[in-house]
């Protein structure tokens, strides 16, 4: 059972920092997803683990052994590339066998492994075809097959589903989850920009933020999917996870203690069930609430509907608040609502997130006690 450990890793390219202060442990057998906006360095981090990039500072340890100087092929990893990177002039069988022949394994071992992988991925009828004669989904399975036969300690996936169409993507997502369960002991590190993939596949999510030279660590938050959803530790995480995005409102602390925070937000009084110890009276804060937690119909807040997105059973209202500048998005069932109408809103105190002036989140208490949207 393999652990991958990244310590104090910096990576700069030609003086431009790409990764900063990365510290991460990926436990044995875990499905770990790297997610973040483009340019955050998630693919670079993956390639760093693979040995295809060189770090500026820090250590990579696999099973406690420092592998900074170990060549990629000796790290016992397998990688599935975004473009699959199958050898175009070789058949699927030869593609899968190539790495094993490089390792000088006996022919019967190779044949057996290839057959096993082909069976798991239903590649048997395609073994003698060349990649050019395969569909996108088939090529992807062949690329996964090439990884499986190496029996690696860690699988690396670089946005493997991004080249597939939507229907195939959801199907393959499920198959990947099944594969992870079947292969049991191997860890999987998976890079994606798609939140749905991250939330549904991951045991652990690593959220990376783009490095704008600000000196902040590249990793914004690490945790289980629902932890990132319910307890984002900073503004960036709160704003990234969840679609549509969380609404952010500026405000000031009126009173704060370990059990609640009272604040004035856009002139309205507001109470959040968060641990406010550490917040001074009058301090500037940002209050966050997800669209799906706003209660539309009654309440002290009001907003004018500027746009409606109807999605079937529910829809999203785009609202302009009283001050004429702040906008919000709220999820609603489809009552008879029209653009231009004013609706009243409740922001349940258990559903609010509070962030201090540095963007750090205050710990939420009883996050699940709000009316289901």
């Amino acid at each position: 059972m393999t652990t991958v450990c990244l310590r104090d890793i910096d990576l700069a390219y030609n003086g431009t920092p790409v990764l900063n202060d990365v510290n991460l442990t990926i436990e044995a057998g875990q499905f770990c997803v790297f997610i973040g906006p483009s340019g955050c360095g998630k693919s670079t981090l993956l390639r760093l683990i693979a040995g295809l990039e060189t770090l500026t500072r820090g250590e990579i340890l696999i099973d406690g052994v420092r592998v900074n100087d170990t060549p990629p092929a000796a790290r016992q990893l397998a990688m599935v590339f975004q473009s699959y990177a199958l050898y175009p002039h070789m058949s699927v069988r030869d593609n899968m066998a190539f790495g094993l022949t490089r390792q000088k394994l006996p022919k019967d071992v190779i044949a057996r492994r290839v057959a096993d992988a082909a069976r798991i991925l239903q590649l048997e009828p395609l073994l003698d075809r060349k990649p050019g004669a395969l569909s996108g989904g088939q090529r992807q399975r062949a690329a996964i097959g090439r990884a499986i036969v190496k029996q690696p300690k860690v699988f690396l996936f670089d946005e493997p589903l991004s080249n597939l169409d939507a229907a195939l993507r959801s199907q393959t997502r499920i198959e990947l989850a099944k594969l992870h369960r079947e292969l049991g002991s191997a860890s999987m590190i998976y890079v994606t920009h798609d939140q749905v993939e991250a939330m549904t596949l991951a045991d652990q999510i690593v959220l990376l933020r783009p490095h704008a030279g600000q000196g902040l660590p590249s990793i914004a938050q690490v945790g289980r999917p629902l932890d990132l959803y319910h307890h984002p530790v900073n503004l960036f995480a709160a704003g990234f996870i969840g679609s549509p995005r969380m609404n952010f409102l500026p405000g000031h602390v009126v009173c704060a203690d370990a059990g609640a925070v009272g604040a004035t937000v856009l002139g309205q009084p507001c109470r959040a069930l968060v641990d406010g110890s550490g917040l001074a009276t009058g301090a500037a804060i940002t209050v966050g609430i997800r669209p799906e937690h706003i209660e539309v119909g009654d309440g002290p807040w009001q907003g004018r509907i500027t746009h409606i997105e109807a999605l079937g059973e529910h829809g999203y209202l785009h609202l302009m608040l009283g001050d004429g500048a702040t906008t919000m998005v709220a999820k609603t069932g489809l009552e008879e609502l029209r653009i231009g109408q004013t609706v009243r809103l409740t922001l349940p105190e258990a559903a609010l997130h509070v962030f201090d002036a540095d963007g750090h989140a205050q710990r939420r208490l009883q996050p699940r006690r709000h009316a289901a949207a």
Binding site: Y13, R47, E53, P71, S83
Partner: protein, 302 residues
Amino acid sequence: MFHSDPRRWRLPRGASIAAFSFLLPALLLIGVFTLIPIVYALFLSVQKMDLISGHHRFIGLANLRYLAEDDKFWAACHNTLRYVSMVVPLQTAIALILACVLNGRIRFKRVFVTLLFLPTLTSSAALTMIFMWLFNNAGVLVRLLQNTLGITINFLGDPAWALGIIMLMNIFSTVPGLMVVYLAGLQAIPPALYEAAMLDGAGPIRRHWEISVPQLTPITCYVMTMGVIGCFQLFDQAFILSGGDGGPDNATLTFTLLIYHFAFKNYNTMGLACALAVVLTLIILCATVLLNRFVRPDGVNA
């Protein structure tokens, strides 16, 4: 997929060794047979060298002075200028027109291109001989002219015509290659541009003039540069047509032929040959730079 950007791709240690071993054979051959000769040419260009004794002495710019006063040098200049001014525009224009025609809805494209490629595939020697026979005093064209128009032209022996024959030969043999370059360029132009022009009422010639020509300007620049460089390097046809002496009356004397004369006809003008070679290189470099500055567009590609 910026991480696929090969400029960002770095290999683990040992890559430098691999890089150099890959480069070594090429660098070795280039070093010995291109770089050193150039340096040697520069050195010899300021020497007077006797090939028999191997003795050489430094004479500074005397070689250049000799060239400036040499009739043959100026004859070569005149010939080359005449040649470039006719051949480059003609071959560029014909190649462009052919490419535009071929890019349209023509069937049997490959057949046409193959047919047209014949002169390009033929060695300059063979092509020269074929043309020499064609324009021979006892040949078909001369006889035709005599019978129909009653005039006799000694194509190969008349200084006024000899260079013209070479020009004709060269245009035939270079046009197909340039045409293919233009074809590739034309295929990169989005068809939507032509359709928009058509909707605006532009006829085919106007469309090509307003769209193809401007879009192809970088390629035209390249084609003309290559054309000029090629013209300055003319040797084979001049040598074979004139039997090696650049006649008749220095009418087919090119720079390279003159260099050859200096290098091998006499035993003590090797330095002169190298001086002329250096001058030739400088002229080509200047022409290239000038042409790039003159024809360079201000970013036309949509």
